[in-house]
Amino acid sequence: MATSDGSTIIGESILISGSLNGDEDLTVRGRVEGTLTLTKTLLVEPTGIVKAEVQVRNCVIAGAVVGNVTASESVEITNQGRMVGDITAPRVIIVDGASFRGRIDMGEVDVEAGQPREAVRAAPSRPALRAAPRQAAPAAAPRAEARKAEEPAAPAKPPAPPAPVAMGAVKRKVIVKRK
């Protein structure tokens, strides 16, 4: 029973239509329609359906969300999550298997600088909703280094497989020569 730890749970058979405001974590296993405003984390479980304008700090979607989601920190769509609507958040995570249709706005993305995300990543870490440790900080920082590391690593790999690929390459070369 997760009743008493200051978190709100909307059970599977419950439908709330209207506006919902709060300052605590909310878990939705049922349906919520209307507007949903929280200062903490919204967790939509696989059975949960949210058809609402959502404004929260963090949002984890494992169920269905129809509507626009604005998060001050992050939005994550898990592999079971389905969403239709626009996302506005500095961090948006969409994992393999998730389905999403809509626009995403992560704020100003500076393509030139290449490291505009550092400040965002340094922001307070998301609550540990999922057991799997994210290691967000180490993954974020050495992104550029990782790329560099890959380049020297590539030649070190064993030479490309010989037969079929090589033949295709040869063929193409021959055609080019004829022209």
Binding site: T8, G11, I14
Partner: protein, 122 residues
């Protein structure tokens, strides 16, 4: 949260909890127990039990099977089984139910109707 532990056996079936900082303006409907520690305005329709904890504030018409009030309710309550007003609760509104219990210390203003036949007739 001591209020919750008072009746653990009954609450075991409660899957839905509206926490103390939550404000809902609209309609809640469903087929399961509902525990309210926050604020609800509008309408509540359930087929199971509604628990209004001491921190709970309700300004809504309520239609359920059972209601147990330890907090504040403003609005009419219609229950198909039982309404229980605990000590320290404040209720303003009419109550219709076959069984109505009012504990010593409860504050209540409104009409009480235990005539179930009339309820069903309407």
């Amino acid at each position: 949260m001591a209020g919750i532990e008072k009746v653990p056996a009954q609450r075991a079936g409660a899957h839905t909890v509206i926490g103390s900082s939550i404000v809902i303006d609209g309609e809640i409907s469903g087929d399961e127990d509902l525990v309210i520690q926050g604020t609800v305005k509008g309408r509540i329709g359930l087929r199971e039990s509604l628990f209004v904890e001491s921190s709970g504030v309700i300004e809504a018409d309520i239609e359920t099977a059972n209601v147990e009030v330890s907090g504040q309710v403003t609005g009419n309550i219609a229950a198909s089984d039982k309404v229980e007003l605990k000590a320290d609760c404040k209720v303003v509104g009419d109550i219709r139910a076959p069984r109505i219990l009012i504990a010593d210390g409860a504050q209540f203003k409104g009409n009480v109707d235990m005539d179930v036949k009339e309820l069903k007739g309407k």
